[in-house]
């Protein structure tokens, strides 16, 4: 009985901390919401505020003004067409590729995966340039079409269709990234059950596989949707000649306009854009409301569908043609541009040199500093997003009540706003968070860091949340009854099960932060220049050849990193997991 006493005391201790936890549970909730409010919503509210004030007094004038202009509605209509069109294209391509990679026996899958990423990491000005050349009057498409009978013309990329095409191609990797792991985790037995219920493979795909992959599709679709909505480069490049405005370009026009109303009008339009973004998020909730799991699977990368040799070859060939056109062509265009001495000189040996590379990496000191800055920023942004984003996703998954849903909405907005607008919000907010007090964040690298984290956090949240949706709650319960709490539970059980999804999210955050352009171009400061800023600077100064040289190195570097990762993971699989199939 002597041993009983300390035991009691210990239990009391445990109990007191336990009750403290519960008393403070609401407190934590409030603090958490507050932090999120300050970081994510307040900057945007400061912008929205501008749409309501005129000379210090409240007014709806800007709303009536903007909403009464036919140009606004034309722009909204264009935006909706472009965004839905390109999102659907991205979804179709993304789902198709992820399904093929996850399900069908194909050779060279790993290489394919790398190529799928390319359109996403190649800067969009390069992609558009490559594509416009591809379809131009002197380009290969016209040449090919002239061989065919009939008077066929290459499609005009300077059109809504062109914008949709390029946005779709640039953003389908997002859908791919979110869905491929979900496909791999679908238990085979659920498909077998469908087969014994008499469903053909096709029907099984629509009735079973697609609904089960919905968490990934919805997340990927949402992110692609938001990316299409806030994209400025492609609609500006292709839309300007055709006078097609979408919200992101129209907002930019307002921002660069003069006069006191410039920001206010931009704010009104941003509110419209925000409404569209929120509608997308809510649609995605609606899609996911039925999503449930009752079995957790290890991601299973052995193929489930085997094709006959002929069909397989045919499929592989057509996939590669697609990938070469969408991924390799822009890359080659970029590489070629980076090697010539000036625009317009023929692509001949005597005009080729590494002069641009020499300038970028030897003469100019900025690019290397920028690269190192961007790498560091991207890395730390990724780490913070990884931790915070996964924690938020966990809470969102565990407690799907109004508070976590609100949090998710808050986090979506910074990503949905066009970069310029978001950067302005950051300035409003962080220059003097409390009027009269400048904490010295603005004008340093910290503002970039905060901006990146707030802007890209949603990517990690979606990635991790998608992964959580694939886990049956009993996995965690079993860990807890085995005595694993806190960190151990995460490290040993949750993280390994979540890994592919979390990794996708982190990869996205990293790549996005590494190549970020618009936000940085307003927020950088001396000493904190980023890759995007340097490329943007070259572009604006008319040194496109330098910027392509730098971009080429960047993309090749990313490819090399990806290749190394694949190699290492294969070695890991072989050596550590001793899997040899």
């Amino acid at each position: 009985m002597t041993a009983k006493q300390p035991e009691d005391r210990e239990r009391k201790k445990r109990d007191s901390s336990f009750s403290l936890f519960f008393q403070s549970k609401n407190l934590y909730k409030v603090i958490g919401l507050l932090v999120i409010f300050v970081f994510f919503l307040l900057p945007v509210l400061r912008l929205v505020w501008l749409s309501f004030v005129d000379d210090g007094s409240l007014t709806m004038q800007y709303y009536t003004e903007v909403l009464n202009e036919p140009a606004t509605w034309k722009t909204v209509k264009n935006t909706l067409i472009v965004v839905f069109g390109s999102t659907i294209l991205a979804l179709v391509l993304g789902i198709l590729f992820s399904w093929l990679v996850a399900y069908v026996e194909l050779s060279g899958k790993k290489a394919m995966q790398l190529f799928i990423f390319l359109p996403f990491v190649i800067p969009s000005y390069i992609t558009t340039l490559a594509w416009t050349q591809f379809f131009s009057a002197s380009g290969p498409v016209t040449a090919m079409l002239s061989w065919l009978p009939g008077d066929l013309k290459a499609p005009n990329l300077y059109s809504i269709g062109g914008i949709i095409l390029l946005l779709g191609i640039s953003h389908y990797p997002l859908v791919y990234l979110f869905t491929v792991n979900v496909f791999r985790k679908i238990p085979r037995e659920l498909e077998e059950a469908a087969a014994t219920s008499g469903l053909s493979k096709k029907r099984t795909f629509w009735k079973i596989v697609m609904p089960l992959a919905l968490p990934g599709i919805a997340s990927g679709g949402l992110i692609a949707f938001l990316s299409n909505l806030d994209n400025f480069g492609i609609p500006a490049f292709l839309g300007t000649p055709a006078n097609i405005r979408v919200l992101s370009t129209y907002i930019y026009e307002q921002v660069v306009g003069f006069g006191p109303s410039a920001f206010s009008r931009a704010a009104v339009l941003s509110v419209i854009l925000g409404v569209i973004a929120l509608a997308g998020t809510i649609l995605q909730w609606f899609l996911l409301r039925r999503s449930r799991v009752n079995e957790t699977n290890r991601s299973d990368s052995t193929p489930r569908i085997y094709l006959s040799a002929g069909k397989k070859k045919l499929l592989e060939a057509s996939l590669w043609v697609f990938l070469l056109v969408t991924s390799l062509m822009p890359l080659i265009t970029m590489g070629a541009l980076s090697l010539i001495s000036a625009y317009g000189v023929p692509f001949k040996l005597e005009n080729l040199s590494l002069r641009n590379y020499e300038y970028v990496f030897l003469t100019d000191s900025k690019p290397l500093t920028a690269l190192s800055n961007s790498l560091q920023l991207a890395f730390f942004t990724m780490i913070i997003c990884l931790i915070v984003g996964t924690a938020v996703a966990y809470l969102r998954f565990k407690y799907p009540d109004w508070s976590t849903k609100t949090v998710e909405l808050f986090m979506t907005i910074p990503y949905a706003l066009p970069g310029t607008v978001f950067a302005l919000c950051m300035i409003f907010m962080w220059l003097e968070p409390i009027p009269g007090w400048n904490p010295g964040i603005y004008g340093t690298v910290w503002i970039l860091f905060i901006a990146y984290v707030t802007r890209f956090l949603v990517l990690q949240v979606r990635g991790s949340y998608t992964a959580f949706l694939q886990i049956d709650p009993s996995m965690e319960e079993a860990a807890r009854t085995s005595g694993a709490s806190g960190w151990i539970k995460w490290r040993q059980i949750l993280l390994p099960l979540l890994f592919p999804g979390i990794f996708s999210g982190a990869l996205l955050v990293f790549l996005m932060a590494l190549t970020e352009l618009t936000v940085s171009s307003l927020l950088w400061s001396s000493g904190s220049e980023t890759v995007g800023v340097v490329i943007f600077g070259y572009e604006q100064a008319g040194y496109s050849t330098y910027s392509t040289a730098f971009s080429t190195v960047l993309v090749l570097g990313i490819l090399f990193g990806g290749g190394m990762f694949l190699l290492l993971s294969r070695l890991w699989d072989r050596k550590v997991l001793k899997k040899n199939d």
Partner: protein, 356 residues
């Protein structure tokens, strides 16, 4: 000592548990028995702390473990659990499943690597999976998976062991062996065990005390023999003892079945409760079947099940359906045969069976 006080649990608008009261003594072995969907798993999850009750409290040694507002998380309660759905971690091998609680469970004695390895081997051998230690769950059969779940739960010798139908996927022989192992474990560690099962034979064989549940309510709590011989409700009589509840009238210690007032049955020891309700509970083996010419209640055989040493007949008697077990050596009947049913007159049974 765990006390469940007036606990209710709702899933949305559906009430899965209605004001449950239960006490689990230190080192007690309790079986929770009940039909599919009666709330057994729900009760176990509340005991584990995966969710909180909608109402009521769960206390341990006068300390509130769980109430409407707060729940002590499972990792802080020295428990082990076998999940009905196994809940194996797809990324861990069988060995890793067992090692896991050995590393982290609050109950583990500071063991060194070697001791741990030994304990792991011991547990794996116990459940007969020593040869499959390096397999992943996806490479196991259903029964093997269940044994991994069992091994994981018992490895750290927790104070409270919660088992949700831990043997349902095993064959009888293995099941018997596992039961013995669980009982041995219970004797050796003095852990409290709550063992959920839908098999009344298993519950009777294994537990100190049986909790019979039905539709979210507790019907009776009693030691096996009491439960079997003195069921308090009709449900317990039929579910645990497989009794046929024959309706009729009790007149002077004689029973007149409603369907055939010419027959009278002697009292072989029926509890007062049933007598008041005009019911005669008859176990399947207390009946005997004869050709329809013989005296007795008239019925039609609707179903015959061969069981090796016995034949189980289902007989339709007017509105009611009775189950009757006959030896393989008695006269056989087929589905559709008309039969006459009467009570076997074995006096021996009177003393213990269904006595007050």
């Amino acid at each position: 000592m765990i006390k469940v006080n007036n606990v209710s649990k709702k899933y949305g608008s559906f009430t899965a548990l209605h004001s449950i009261d239960l006490e689990i003594g230190e080192g007690e072995f309790i079986a929770v028995l009940g039909p599919s969907g009666c709330g057994k798993t729900t009760l176990l999850k509340l005991l584990a702390g995966f969710m909180g009750p909608t109402d009521g409290t769960i206390e341990m040694d006068n300390l509130v473990l769980a109430s409407k507002k707060r729940v002590l998380p499972p990792e802080k309660r020295n428990i082990g659990m076998v999940f009905q759905s196994f809940a194996l971690w797809p990324h861990m091998t069988v060995a890793e499943h067992v090692k896991f609680p050995l590393n982290y469970h609050p109950n583990k004695i500071k063991e060194n690597k070697k001791e741990m390895q030994e304990r792991m081997n011991e547990v794996l051998k116990l459940v007969g999976l020593d040869a499959l230690a390096e397999r992943y769950p996806s490479e196991l059969s259903g029964g093997q998976k269940q044994r991994v779940a069992l091994a994981r739960a018992i490895a750290p010798l927790p104070n409270l062991l919660l088992m949700d139908e831990p043997l349902s996927a095993l064959d009888v022989e293995l099941r018997m062996e596992m039961r013995k192992e669980i009982q041995k474990l219970h004797r050796e560690t003095k852990a409290s065990i709550v063992f959920v099962t839908h098999d009344q034979g298993e519950a009777l064989a294994i537990a100190d005390k049986i909790v019979v549940m039905n539709k979210g309510r507790i019907e009776q709590i009693a030691p096996p023999e009491v439960l079997y011989t003195r069921p308090e409700t009709e449900f317990v009589a039929t579910f645990v003892g497989k009794c046929n509840l024959v309706k009729g009238q009790w007149r002077n210690e004689q029973f007149v079945p409603a369907i055939d007032s010419k027959n009278t049955w002697p009292d072989l020891g029926v509890t007062a409760g049933f007598k008041e309700n005009g019911i005669y509970p008859v176990r399947p083996e207390q009946f005997q079947l004869m050709s329809p010419e013989s005296a007795g209640l008239q019925g039609v055989v609707s179903f015959v099940q061969y069981q090796g040493h016995e034949i189980h007949y289902t007989v339709e008697v007017e509105e009611a359906t009775w189950t009757i077990h006959e030896s393989v050596f008695s006269k056989r009947f087929e589905t559709g045969d008309f039969v006459s049913i009467s009570l076997k007159n074995s006096l021996v049974q009177k003393e213990i069976l269904i006595s007050t």
